[in-house]
Symmetry: C2
Subunit: 336 residues, 2 copies
């Protein structure tokens, strides 16, 4: 079985965005658009949105199950207030649940959280619990910068976040560290903000004792870990200079990387420097890069091809494609 | 000849930091400490600061000339006002000039700029001109985020920066894109802020026509280009999706990467995906990582060893170690 740990519903029916547009328009008149204002979306509309996109690509690429969450760039936690964020989040998560109900063999849910700048993270706990216990979701996406590029929340290692981590541990779900769109003109969302957040989070973890406080807390750092594997020597050296334990001891029981790196040399590097137990297959499909690489004639984000091209043992291949995902997302067992 | 394009004076005599400490103390009483308040530094103190550090390591590693600039993390453009920044910058640049005068075979200067948040970049033009025309410097370090981690300046591709670029073009000097310390607790300086800035700058360049406006403007993106080479497929794909020209056409006449990547797999990746004409040898020595890699028994930042380990042609090796630096820093010819 091949499990893609990183897929977003970037092709949702237009009615979802209409709800969002109305919500944003309502902010100007201080009107919170209720969930009941959503235009109904039919099962057929959901099927149509997937059949020629994620499902077609799953079949074409030979992957089986996508761990599926709302479109990351659309989370936009910086828009509006806590109520805005909660209603938008519920709408997005409800739709993911319908996808997973229609295609239980193909998708399993990971939720967006109703984060909002300045609001304590634990206020996302109820929606996390709803998604996990009622909708069968197996993890969440956690935005380390709900401001959308101003980075004015405390680091992920600050006690500010601890009550939410307690809830994650209680529910036994991991988080993918995933920012959303950027409202800072310095940061292109998918080309800079995403990758920077990945690198930033890793360095925060490196300099803290977070995983002493939460030995079972688990994070996936997406996009191949940002810059981290490429600079693995720098991070090993910084840890040593800072008198921190070796990274394999201090971080790699809790921190995992996906394979959303869109060329073979990058995947070769990732699998060369990061222990195989810490790598989860992911493609971000349909996502940040949608074109075909003229150098290979294949989709940039068909990351399975890069892994197929590696000389891995059967066991290592199993770990990357399935085994590690089952370990990091133990609630997968209840779904598949 | 082996030219290290990226060295900082991280071992300067203590009197330099004393001046800075007095300057910062003066800010509390709104007193701008004048340059004349500097404690004199003797030539012997300068020699002592280098002989057991940069010079010893040059000899041990077999490198010849370091393109040398003030300590990047100490630039701290966010401290104080424009006068604070100017005086501190002059003090740092003057000291680099003394180093280069004492050891003209070993060091050639690159200047810090007296940037300050909210101050137009061209206000750094006079100090740049002084350093280049009077002190023999051959380039500058340009901080894309003088706020120190709040990222509230316009992107490097905004016209905000153009007058300074005109001065750089007039003087025929490149800039290394280099942030300083971070006052944002989210960003560890050398482990996140530096690398993020590199990635951010590249993506800004990718989405702009800056180099149509300035065909001869040249930037070095340090630390191996941040996350860029590791995600080269992503950047090629983003350029294609955004209907931008191929990166080799649109950026690689103007953008260069150094080799400050502290393990062999990273250097292998860099040289595999980035054209050899765009790679300049650099070590950041003595800098971000000072320890010895227990896996190799050698200094992490002895990046020459990684390049020596590659199967390169003599011509390609010459380009990385010397030729590209001479092309990117044409004023080197007047110094060496």
């Amino acid at each position: 079985m091949i499990i893609d740990c990183h897929g977003h519903y970037t092709t949702a029916p237009a009615a979802l965005q209409q709800f969002r547009d109305e919500q944003i328009a309502g902010l100007k008149t201080h009107t919170d658009i209720p969930l009941s204002a959503r235009t109904p979306i039919s099962d057929d509309q959901i099927r149509d949105s997937l059949e020629n996109a994620q499902l077609k690509l799953q079949r074409a690429r030979g992957t089986d199950l996508t761990i599926f969450s709302p479109r990351a760039s659309a989370m936009a936690h910086h828009i509006g207030n806590e109520t805005t964020s909660l209603r938008w989040t519920e709408a997005c998560n409800d739709l993911i649940h319908r996808v997973c109900t229609l295609y239980p063999q193909n998708f399993v849910g990971v939720c967006q959280l109703p984060q909002s700048p300045g609001v304590p993270p634990i206020r996302s706990g109820a929606e996390l619990e709803r998604c996990v216990t009622q909708l069968g979701f197996i993890g969440c996406n956690l935005n380390p910068d709900p401001s959308g590029g101003h980075w004015d929340s405390p680091p992920l290692t600050d006690r500010h976040w601890y009550p939410l981590y307690e809830k994650m541990v209680e529910l036994d779900v991991p988080a993918m560290v995933h920012v959303s769109s950027s409202c800072n003109p310095n940061f292109h969302a998918t080309g800079a903000h995403y990758i920077n957040a990945d690198t930033t989070a890793f360095m925060q973890f490196l300099t803290s004792d977070l995983f002493k406080d939460f030995p079972t807390l688990r994070f996936i750092i997406p996009h191949g870990g940002g810059a981290v594997p490429y600079h693995w020597g720098r991070y090993r050296g910084l840890a040593q200079d800072l008198k921190r334990p070796p990274l394999t001891q201090s971080l790699l029981n809790n921190v995992f990387f996906d394979t959303c790196v869109y060329h073979l040399p990058g995947i070769e590097l990732l699998t060369k420097v990061i222990p195989v137990d810490n790598i989860l297959f992911g493609s971000e499909m349909v996502g940040a890069v949608r074109g075909i690489d003229p150098e290979t004639g294949q989709y940039f984000d068909d990351t399975k091809r890069y892994i197929d091209a590696l000389a891995l043992t059967d066991l290592d291949r199993y770990k990357i494609f399935e085994g590690n995902a089952r370990r990091v997302f133990p609630r997968l067992a209840g779904n598949t």
